[in-house]
Amino acid sequence: MTSFDAAFTGGWIRRFAASVRATEPELTALDQRAGDGDFGVNLTTGLTTALRMLDEAAADGEPEDASAPLLTTATAFLDSVGGTSGPLFGLLFQRLACAVRDAGPGLTTSGLAAGTREGLAVIQRVGEARAGDKTLVDALAPAARALGACPPDAPPDTALVRAAGGAWEGVRSTARLRARRGRASYLGDRVSGVPDPGAVGIGLFYASADGGVRALAPFLEGREQPSR
């Protein structure tokens, strides 16, 4: 079974941070249309804290376990990020870290699939959002499905490309939805055509595993119109 080490998961988080930093203005603009405008800043805050903690940990030597960078990121998001979406991302990272650790010490496709599935479950348990409510669940659920459909012994990077594809389809779907949760639910039809920023964040996370944000860029720049 192919597995990757902590250098891969650490790199994944660092690429995610770079993706978010590169797209923060677009994320903020989306959240100003469909929320209260703090999502881009919250995501950046969490990742900046996570990178600082990863650097501190690296000074003591690279971790053995591929779950360690994910757990560090979880702690950063749960403890330092305000709002509601930020801490919900923290729960996803925490479930991923636990599942990867249990399947570990290396990162495997089965660990990723279990962690994403459990992350989706805990986010739905806490936030009570269902598929179709126009939240990050609409990107995370198809990512979990895509990972679950991968052969457990598939290489994790291949599986993550499939997860990113699933999340990306989910992001597209949120543009067509009417919000039923969160601030956007008070705005009714005024946010139709606008993808959910939390879903975009999930898409960025999975897309960052193998190098980045390219697949999402046209959408974030507004060049692609949602299909109706």
């Binding site: 509601t84 805990v122 936030g127």
Partner: protein
């Protein structure tokens, strides 16, 4: 325009928390780093720690009810803003007993999510945790409102009764069941003739024309779904009592505990006059008024209005309500 007495709007909550701890050094301590207020002399024999919290601006809720016989800790957020999950997590770890910790949560999305995230983290650490979701406000009961009834005045009664039950040695599951049952037995309704003052600029948060009342107002500056004529008190109480009793449906001879709660700036004279009207109407309907609590308990900054809460009480509930408690805002 009448701005708040504060160094600055942003520092009002943190300054007040520091002052609160200084004012009650024998009863509470403020853990500024953890973001919670904790009982110094809590009840030693409890098996379960009791924790509540929510946005500031509802004083004395929740910090005023931290102490012996009521809450072990409370997590205040910023004004009308839920506490961070980190505060709830830290406070829960600090006060959990051998049977764990019970969260008393008013039904608002932010509070539910942040207490929920903290609960997941606690479960991860092997600390048992359960939740009582308080949703007593009948004005927010509607098929159009998916999030359900808001949590308001019943919170203080439930904190008192659960505190006594916890002191009597109840375990986590029993306390959670009792709290859920108490919530089902409680309903509240609020009216306001003037909005609270916005802390940022000292202006009214919304306008209510003269001679009108917001009927079914909340505690966060959200307007009610209807504005009605400001009738004389006896007519207003007739409507409010009918509405509450219609929802709770007590039989003749049933007993209630009543809370007549000021939302911030009505006078004690008015609140006792309200209590008179309420008591007369309960008498007339054959509902026994076991206990009355009259004053400012769950406020909305300085909103000019009041809420009524009725809780159907049996003997056991009344005994727990009567049990001694000693907190900054409850000494009897």
């Amino acid at each position: 325009m009448a701005p708040y007495f504060a160094r600055a709007p942003e520092s009002l909550v943190s300054d007040a928390l520091e002052g609160f701890a200084r004012a009650h050094p024998d009863l509470v301590e403020h853990d500024a780093e953890g973001g919670f207020v904790r009982a110094l002399r809590g009840s030693p024999d409890r098996r379960v720690g009791l924790l509540s919290g929510g946005g500031s601006g509802h004083e004395p809720l929740h910090i005023g009810f931290v102490g012996a016989g009521m809450l072990d800790a409370a997590t205040p957020g910023m004004i009308f803003t839920s506490p961070h999950n980190r505060q709830v997590f830290a406070a829960s770890r600090a006060v959990a007993r051998r049977d764990g910790v019970l969260h008393l949560v008013k039904n608002y999305t932010g509070d539910k999510i942040n207490f929920g995230i903290a609960a997941e983290r606690l479960a991860d650490e092997g600390i048992p945790v359960a939740r009582v979701l308080i949703d007593d406000d009948i004005a927010s009961e509607s098929e159009d409102i998916a999030v359900g009834r808001r949590g308001t005045g019943a919170t203080v009664l439930i904190e008192k009764i659960l505190g006594a039950a916890a002191d009597a040695g109840a375990g986590l599951a029993d306390l959670a069941d009792l709290g859920t049952s108490l919530t089902g037995r409680s309903r509240s309704l609020a009216v306001a003739s003037a909005a609270h003052t916005a802390p940022a600029d000292g202006s009214p948060a919304f306008d209510i024309p003269g001679g009108r009342l917001e009927f079914g107002v909340g505690i966060h500056g959200e307007r009610a779904d209807r504005t009605v004529a400001h009738e004389p008190l006896d007519a207003l109480l007739e409507t409010m009592t009918d509405t509450l009793l219609g929802t709770l449906a007590p039989g003749r001879g049933d007993s209630v505990i009543a809370l007549v709660n000021g939302l911030g700036s009505v006078t004690g004279l008015e609140l006792y006059a309200v209590a008179r009207e309420l008591g007369r109407r309960l008498d007339r309907r054959g509902v026994e008024l076991r206990r009355s609590l009259v004053g400012h308990f769950v406020t909305a900054l300085d909103m000019r209005g009041f809420s009524l809460t009725l809780l159907l009480a049996d003997d056991a509930i009344t005994d727990w309500y009567d049990a001694p408690a000693h907190t900054p805002a409850w000494r009897r």
